[in-house]
Symmetry: C2
Subunit: 310 residues, 2 copies
C-alpha cells in the first residue's frame, strides 16, 4: 500500500456533520460555521527533518517553509489565512536557540500575511525535528474553487516556473496568496490547486477529481533555470523538462478556466504581476490522463511526481 492507497482507504468513510462542505481530498477542508459572508478553510501540514529539510538548513528557513507550505494550501483555495497553531516535535538533544530561530522565520512570514499564531504544542519526537502547522482561513461564500471543477475546453495555466526547487526555492518561496485572490476576484476560474508534488502528479489529481484529461504543450511548460542548471552540471540529473513535471515543491498555482477568457487573463495578469510569469500550458480535454504534444505529435505522459513512501 503506498501513500495514496492508504489515504484512499482511511478517507473512505470519515465521520462528518452538517458543518462540512468539502472534507478530505482537496487542498483545504471547507466548513460552514455560520459566518454570514464567509466559509472557513481548515488545513494542516507537517515538515520533517531528513524529508523536507536537512541538518544544514538554517532554522529560520525551516520555520518559513513549515508555514509557507500550509499558506500555499490556503492560496490553492483563493483564501485568506487567519490563525495558525504550531506543533513542534523535538528530538531529545534539541537546542532551544535553534527552536527560537525556527519561530523567528515562522513569525516573520505570519506577520507578512497577518496570520495570528494562537498557540500550539511542544512534544518530544525521538527521531528528529517535526513541525506541524494547523491553519484557518476564509473565503467569501460562493467562492469554492476545487480541484474538481475543470471542464473540457478549459485552458490550463501555471504561475512561475517549475522544477529545480530543491536548489533553494523550496525553503524561501512566497505562497501565492495575493495572486490567487486576485485571480478569483477577476476571473471565473473553474478549478484551482497548488503544485506541491510536481505538475505531472498534481495535474493528474485535478484531472481525476474533474473526470477529464489534459493535453499539454511541451514547449509551453515554464522550466525553471535551476532545473536547467542541475541538468547541465550533473550528467545523471533528470532532463529539465522532466524535472519541471516531477521534482515537486514548486508551490505555484495550477488552474483552469474557459479558454475564451485566456487572452484577457494573460493581458490583465501581466499588468498586475509584471514580475511573475503566467503560462498557458495546454487544455483540458474529454477522457483521462495527460497527453504531451511536441513537434512530433502527442503521446501519453506517465512519469509521476514525488510519491510519499514510494
Amino acid at each position: 500500500m503506498n501513500e495514496l492507497e492508504l489515504i484512499a482507504r482511511l478517507t473512505r468513510a470519515l465521520p462528518t456533520n452538517d458543518t462540512v462542505l468539502t472534507g478530505a481530498g482537496d487542498d483545504c477542508a471547507i466548513l460552514d460555521l455560520g459566518v454570514p459572508e464567509q466559509l472557513i478553510l481548515f488545513k494542516t501540514d507537517a515538515v520533517v527533518a531528513g524529508v523536507h529539510f536537512t541538518g544544514e538548513t538554517p532554522p529560520e528557513k525551516i520555520g518559513h517553509k513549515a508555514l509557507a507550505r500550509c499558506l500555499s494550501d490556503i492560496a490553492a483555495m483563493a483564501g485568506t489565512p487567519t490563525a495558525a497553531l504550531v506543533t513542534l516535535g523535538l528530538p531529545k538533544d534539541f537546542d532551544p536557540d535553534f527552536v527560537v530561530r525556527i519561530y523567528a522565520g515562522l513569525t516573520a512570514l505570519a506577520e507578512k500575511f497577518r496570520v495570528a499564531i494562537v498557540g500550539g504544542e511542544t512534544t518530544t519526537n525521538p527521531g528528529g525535528l517535526l513541525i506541524s502547522i494547523a491553519l484557518l482561513g476564509s473565503i467569501p461564500r460562493g467562492r469554492r474553487l476545487l480541484r474538481s471543477g475543470a471542464k473540457a475546453g478549459d485552458a490550463i495555466f501555471v504561475t512561475g516556473e517549475l522544477g529545480g526547487s530543491l536548489a533553494g526555492k523550496h525553503l524561501d518561496f512566497t505562497p501565492r496568496l495575493v495572486e490567487s485572490c486576485w485571480l478569483a476576484e477577476h476571473f471565473p476560474l473553474h478549478s484551482l490547486m497548488d503544485l506541491s508534488d510536481g505538475l505531472g502528479s498534481d495535474l493528474r489529481h485535478l484531472l481525476k477529481a474533474s473526470g477529464v484529461g489534459a493535453e499539454l504543450l511541451k514547449s509551453a511548460v515554464p522550466v525553471a533555470r535551476s532545473a536547467r542548471v542541475a541538468a547541465r552540471e550533473n550528467a545523471g540529473a533528470k532532463p529539465p523538462f522532466i524535472a519541471a513535471l516531477t521534482d515537486g515543491e514548486d508551490f505555484e498555482l495550477l488552474f483552469t478556466l474557459a479558454s475564451r477568457n485566456a487572452v484577457k487573463l494573460l493581458d490583465a495578469w501581466h499588468r498586475e504581476f509584471p514580475g511573475l510569469k503566467l503560462s498557458c500550458i495546454g487544455k483540458i480535454v474529454a477522457g483521462e490522463g495527460i497527453l504531451l504534444r511536441d513537434k512530433t505529435g502527442a503521446r501519453p505522459f506517465n512519469a509521476h511526481g514525488y510519491v510519499h513512501f514510494a
Copy 2:
C-alpha cells in the same frame, strides 16, 4: 531551558490580529471569526510513540487517545467540538493495517461526539509514530471560561478520581465534554481547565494565571483505586496521594466557583451525573502557590506533575 521556559520564550511576542480573543496559554485559543452567536475554539495536540503509548498499545486505543486528549481541551473551555484534521507521522516500516486500526479508534470517538474528520496528512517520521490532531470547536459568545478567572474565596472542584491513569485510563478515558457544558450552562464558573499534567502542576498554572493561591484539603482529594493498587503492589511506587497530584493524564475537569454555590452544585451534580464523583478539594486564597492542609496543619506543596523534557 525546560519546556515551560522555552514555551514562555516562544510565546512572548507572537503575531496576532483582530480575530484573536485568547491566544497561546490557555487550553484552547478563542477566535472571533464573525459567527453571530458563537466564538471559535482552536486546539492542537500530539501523541508520540514511547511517550504517550508503547509498542504494546492496541492501535485503536492510540487513535482514541489522540483525539480524546484534544477533545479534553475543548471540554476545558466548556465547548462543543466541530471538526478535526489528523496528521500521521509514520515510521518507514509502518504496517498499513495498524494505521487503519488507529483510524478505527479515532473515528469511533469522533462519531460519538459528532466530530467531523475533514482531512489531514500523512508524512514519514523516521523516529516512530506520531499523531497530531487539530480540532475546531465553539462556545456561545459570552462563555469564556479561562484559567485566569479564579478568585479568592472560590471553592475548588475536580471531577472523577486522580492518579494511576497509566494503569489504563489514559488510553480509554471519555473526555468530559457533556459534564463541562452542563456545568457552564447551570453554574457561574469562575475558572475551568482539564487535568493533563497532574493536579499539582495544572492547579499551579491556574493559580498563576489568576494571581491567587490555593489551600487544598488532603483528605478531600479523590485518589483513584489504581493509584492505591500501584502503591500496594510496588514498594517503590509513589504514595497514592502523591500519585494523585503528580501522575498526570487524568483528563478530569478542574474548576472554581464562588463557594456560596458549592453545596447547590454538589446536589445538582449528583442528580445529573450519579456515576461520576465530584469533589470539593479546597479553596482559592489570596497569595500564591499551594498549601496542603491535613490533621497536623497546613504546609506548602511543591511536588510537580509531569514536566516535559525534564
